[in-house]
Each structure stands twice: as C-alpha cells, then as structure tokens.
Symmetry: C2
C-alpha cells in the first residue's frame, strides 16, 4: 500500500510546488510574479489540491505524482478569485481580510496576474512526469473543460445573468454546480487519473463524492454568511442579503439548508465505499467541510 | 509528398474548426459564446494558425493534423486582444473598425469571454487526435510557456511598465519579442511538433523564421501607424505618437525601420532553406507580411 499523508503534510507539498512553479518563470517579471504570489499565498484552505492528492493515493497511486495537477487546480481557483474581485465583476476590495489583488497591485496587473495563473496552470499540469501520457492528456482535457465555459466560467456567466431573474432553487443549483462544483469535481477526477490505476468504479465514486461536497460547501457558505461573524469569516457577513443575492438560505431557510448540507455530506461519505479504509481521510474532509466555521 | 494547400483553403479549415469548437460547448451559454465568436470572427488575418498548418505540412506532416493546435493559438491571440482592449488596459473602444468586445457585450462578459477562450484553447489543443501523445504534450507545454508570463503575458506586463521608462531599442525589442513574437514562435513550433516528423534542423529553422517575421511584423505595424490612413488600416493612425509610445519609427526613423523590416524578412526567408520547395508558401507569407498595407 502507498504511503499515508495528512492534510498539513499535503499543504506543505502544495505550497512548496506552487512556489517552485511560480519562481521558475524568467527574469524581469518580479512585479507580476509578486502579484500572482500575493493571491496564491493568501491563506486559502487548499481544499481542491488536497482532494487531488488524496484521490490519487486512495486509487492506489503515489500522491506526489498528482502534485503538479493539484497545483494547477489551485492556480485556476486563484485566478478565478482575482478576476471575480475586479471592479467590472464583484468589485470586492477585500479577500480573506486582505486587500484584493487589484487593490494591492492595480487593476491592469490583477487582470494579467489572473491570465498568467490560468496559463501557468496548464504548463504546470503538463509537467507531470509520472503520469502516463494517455492519462495526463485525459486529465488536462478534463481540467480545461470543467474550468471553461462548460464549467466554472459558465457558472460565473450564469451568476451574472441571474441578477435580474426570478430566483429559483434549480437556477441556484445550476450556477453552483458550475461555478464552484466543476473545479471541485476536476480536483477529484484529476487525482484519479494521476494514479494511473483508477477504474470506472473509482471514477464514478470520485464524481459522486465531489458533486456532493461541492453542493454542501456552497450551502455552508450561504449559512455562514448569515450565522457567522466577520471576525471569524474574514469577510463581511450579511453581504448576500445586502446584495439581494439568491442563496440556499433565502430559498429554503436556515434549518432546511443545514439538513440539506448534512444529507449531501452523508451521501459523499457513502460514495467512498469502494475505497475501503483508504477513503478515511476523504471522509474526514467531507465532515470537516460541513462543520467548518469559515 | 503530402497534399498542398493555399492560404484561403487554410483559412476555411481554421474558421470551420473554430466554429465547431466554440459551439460544442454546453447549452445555456448563448450570450458568452456569442461574445467569444464576435471577437474570434472579427476579420483577423489568421496569420498564426496558417503558420501552424503550413509548418506541419512543410515538415512532411498532414496539415490538418495540426488544425486543433492552430485554432488554439488563434483563440489565445483573440483572448489577448479582448483583455488588451479593456478599460483597465488600453481602453480601446474599437478593434478592426468594430466596437471592441467589452463595448458590444459589456466589460464583465468581455473579461469572461477572454477567460473562456484561453481555457477553450487548451481543451481544443488537447483534442488533437493524430498528434503522437509525446509530441502533443510537448506542443501544449510550449504553447502555455510562450503564452504566459515567460512569453505573451510577460510582454504585456513589460509594455505597461515601459510607459514611465526611458525609451530604448533594447527595451522595445524585448517587449515585442514577448508580446507578439512569443505566440508567433509558438505557431511555428506547434506546427512542427504536430507533424510527428520534425527534426532538430526543422525546429531551429521554424524558430529563426518566426523570430524574424515576428519582429518584422511589429516594425511594419509601427510604420503603418505613421504612413497609412485610418480607412485602409481599420483603426486610427498616428495613435502611437499621440500616446507617446515607444516605436521603431520613433527610435530609428522610417527609413531605417523599413530597412530593418526588409533585413529581417530576408533572414526569415533564408532560414527556410532546409525545407527546399516545401518552404515556398512560408516564403510568400514572409514577403506578403512585409509588404502588407494593413
């Protein structure tokens, strides 16, 4: 059986590889690299890349073989936050309690830092030495599909368009499935591909698990915006209501939202059956995401 | 010997594949796809993808095997124009005589159309069925490298930073080598990789040729901004001087700029020697770029 890891060890590996890839870029680009690093190092939980590494291990692979793919997903996640915060999008001056990228580095550099991270993500992914070429091509194609208009970018578009629409649970679920769900699904699937050992059952389990925790994640986000404090959350609370945003809480109420998050978390845990005891850390992750306070 | 093509035939293949890839994206995203299509179909000369197809053929490959890679480069070129035109960058309301993407579709959708095109580029590239996996990975890695901070994005950063610097020919050459040169180089190299037959000599020739026409292309751009009319050019002339921009004309004068463009074009043509008569169309392309009027 392959070596076991815990989350802090994974995060250490991820942070070190992110730095390595970022600073491997040619000379003379200190400013934009600093802007990219600023957002990449801004205290993210690294949920997606941890999923990638652990799914690789759970499928019987060597977790570190998935490290480049894991980092590529974190880069894409980060670029999407930078572009999301821009004045023409959400116009957010703060991100995790710190000035957002365009506030710290200027709007034009934030735009390019996002473009640079998205591009570096694909370069990083394709430098996965130990993933079989066939699986690597499949993995990066999946990543591009789920990060693009058929996935994350498409979710951002629907989110923008929903501002003037009649709210509905179905619309909200579609937006979240694309906007946050697609990249979480990519994280799980890419880990499976990187293992060079994933069978159809494992891929189906990864898909089910990631869909469920992706939805639960978003529901918990909506709940915390109502029940948490800005100190704990690191961003203003009550912003959804203030912005008249369609959320699970506004559509279902807090109690039903909590029940739904719990149901989805149970479903995610059940999906892990085929991994046996190798699914333990993924189970813990699902439970901790449901119970998180920020 | 493989089939011969001409430029109009290539452009037909490219436009048809671009449409196919664009409209293969899931339902419910009509607006953003239209925004992407608007910029993709905005009368570009398709220089880069034509280079990719023809280098593939000149190396002894089947030109159509390089079609996905060719289109991926055009998508990246187009995304860079959309983001470049945004208010936080060049703030250009027109592109090739038509309202720029953010003027036609709104700033937030232009941002996402660019992100979507960059992401679709990688998905498209990785769907190259007839390129050997090893060569495909090499090709897409090269593309990401030359489109990113070490290449095109890096050039845009240096261009922004040059606004408050002492002008110098060396700085201008570095900016152009990255901002426009890198993607032209990618176009040539990706064609070679896609052929599955390129040797070191061919790769070196493609690199030399593309560097030379990339530089010549930029010099001609600067000359046309002074000598052309806005009707012929499809954009305002004299904008470089108005914006106090560092150009070859401002640094070397028109006559020396013309001589330098000619010298670089000759050098590009000479680099094609190893392709024998298969280099004919590439030679014509270099000459027509030097003589172009818009």
């Amino acid at each position: 059986m392959s070596e076991k890891y815990d989350v802090p060890k994974y995060i250490e590996l991820i942070n070190s590889k992110l730095s390595e890839m970022l600073y491997s870029v040619n000379d003379g680009q200190d400013y934009i690299i600093k802007a990219m690093d600023y957002s990449l190092s801004n205290g993210g939980k690294r949920i997606r890349p941890v999923l990638t590494l652990e799914f690789c291990r759970a499928c019987g692979g060597n977790a570190e073989d998935a490290l480049n793919l894991a980092c590529s997903i974190e880069m894409i996640h980060t670029y999407s936050l930078i572009h999301d915060d821009l004045p023409c999008m959400d116009n957010d001056d703060f991100r995790r309690g710190k000035p957002s990228c365009h506030k710290a580095y200027g709007e034009e550099y934030a735009l390019l830092a996002g473009d640079g991270l998205l591009t570096l993500a694909f370069e990083t992914a394709l430098k996965s030495e130990n993933v079989k070429q066939e699986n690597l091509i499949k993995a990066v194609k999946t990543l591009a599909n789920l990060a693009g208009v058929a996935g994350m970018v498409g979710g951002q578009v629907l989110d923008l368009q929903s501002e003037n629409c009649e709210p509905s649970l179905e619309k909200l679920q579609t937006i979240d499935r694309l906007k946050t769900g697609a990249l979480i699904k990519a994280a799980a699937l890419l880990g499976c591909y990187a293992s060079n050992r994933a069978d159809e059952k494992m891929l189906a389990a990864a898909e089910k698990y990631s869909e469920c925790i992706g939805s639960a994640f978003q529901i918990v986000d909506d709940i915390l915006d109502v029940t948490s404090t800005s100190e704990v959350l690191g961003k203003p609370v009550g912003s959804d209501e203030k912005n008249n945003k369609m959320t699970y809480v506004s559509l279902m109420g807090i109690e039903n939202s909590e029940k739904e998050a719990q149901r989805l978390t149970d479903e995610a845990v059940n999906a892990l059956e085929c991994f046996g005891s190798d699914g333990e850390l993924l189970k813990e992750l699902a439970l901790s995401l449901a119970k998180r306070k920020n």
